[in-house]
């Protein structure tokens, strides 16, 4: 086992570069995943922020959907931010009816739950196992409900808004997901948590 795990970043569309940077800072080597062959020798995988309908369609077109589902089922550590969370959820509300995901997270996620771009926001929240985190939400989903296996790691703080208390970070074994984008803030502790998960799985 090497000290620097190889972590794939699904590079079909989205904020790939930001995840590369955060992963490097957290002690992993990012590798772009576009083709089946790119899935070889990965210790973990990140699904970036982006447009989930676009990524979902490209996963199908380029025949990555089933192989990725299989890898997630087989225990490959995966982290998804925003669109990535939508792809990992077992059930999606307000998505396209034909939208295909990878699954792996026993949660129901609501797409664009906070509203349109004018509602996108930043806030501070408590992230279990990480500490206080400044979180950036962009047309973000939230976790509507969690199944038995999913552990809640963060919620929207009690700020008096209708979104207060909504679940925005979850973990289920080797699968981690956040509604927000730690890759945009320069604080690499959430990626640090994921790299730790990757190392523990090796």
């Amino acid at each position: 086992m090497s000290d620097t795990p190889r972590v794939g970043v699904l590079a079909l569309q989205g904020d790939v570069r930001e995840h590369d940077r955060a992963l490097r800072a957290a002690g992993a080597e990012p590798v772009h995943v576009r083709r089946l062959a790119d899935l070889e020798r990965l210790d973990g995988l990140v699904l970036p922020g982006g447009e989930s309908t676009t990524i979902s369609r490209l996963l199908e077109v380029f025949e990555l959907l089933e192989p990725l589902r299989e890898r997630v089922r087989d225990g490959l550590p995966v982290y998804g931010s925003c669109a990535g969370m939508i792809l990992l959820a077992d059930e999606v509300l307000d998505g396209r009816p034909d939208q295909q995901g990878l699954g792996g997270l026993d949660v129901v996620v609501r797409r664009n739950a906070f509203g349109r771009q004018v509602d996108s926001f930043e806030t501070d929240l408590a992230f279990e196992g990480v500490g206080d985190v400044h979180a950036v939400f962009i047309r973000a989903p939230w976790v509507e409900s969690t199944g038995e296996g999913a552990q809640v790691l963060a919620r929207v703080p009690e700020d008096g808004s209708a979104a207060a208390g909504r679940v925005v970070a979850v973990r289920q074994g080797h699968v981690l997901a956040t509604s927000f984008h730690p890759e945009l803030t320069g604080d690499d502790r959430v990626h640090g948590l994921f790299v730790q998960m990757v190392k523990e799985a090796q």
Binding site: Q13, R34, E51, G115, R116, F121, A163
Partner: protein, 302 residues
Amino acid sequence: MTTTDNAPVNEVGTDRVKRGMAEMLKGGVIMDVVDAEQAKIAEDAGAVAVMALERVPADIRRDGGVARMSDPDMIDGIQAAVSIPVMAKARIGHFVEAQVLQAIGVDYVDESEVLTPADYAHHIDKRQFTVPFVCGATNLGEALRRIAEGAAMIRTKGEAGTGDVSQATTHLRTILGEIKRLTVMDEAELFEAAKLMGAPLELVRETASLGRLPVVMFTAGGVATPADAAMMMQLGTDGVFIGSGIFKSGDPARRARACVEATAYFEDAERIAKVSRGLGEAMVGISADSLGAGELLATRGW
């Protein structure tokens, strides 16, 4: 405002959420659409966003007259039809059109040279808005001036509505070349460069140290084929806008899918070849070279 009550009220409309929104569009295609049906076709094809407008640039060019912001009813219809982000255009300098677009909840405002300018000296003070803006640029100075005014995303202008990609190529190469030169300049040279290009020194310094613009840069204007889109990506753009190129072609749904796939797999010539087959007729096109100075849209913006 049609904004929901769900979002915490503090810290909306920050630079980070505005610029971050554009980061999420990277590697994608944004398509011009004029109605809900086209918007659905774009979404089905995998567009990362749609630009809602009454007439695509090719028709604006053909019809002439004053081109303005679209009817809010028409934009509402498109917002209701798709779940991907919806952008809309305001005239250069027309801050009230931008206020209206923000009020109806569009996800991004394009302060666009494709519409007839409302102000021949000033652009919109975009920092006053919660909604983010994308602006066109033909060179680095213009791009940095727009960013200084609050633009959270830049697109190279190209020559919209022509189907001729040469101007997009020129503007993209110009901006990327100017950035490359900044990266090897010392402080005294950066000061001179900022003065010559009419851009704030701070942004010039930031661009030099990043080796790229501080915001996402897409390409627009004349992109009409999957190969055009992939060429822009190989040159170094973050993504592409396709205006008239999709819905002025023979088989829009197929061409839209092909452009999305070519943008995602821009380095894979075999895949680009595959998606380029049997697309039907491309938009007819006008050579940008044949346009008179008065017909050029890219020269609008100051």
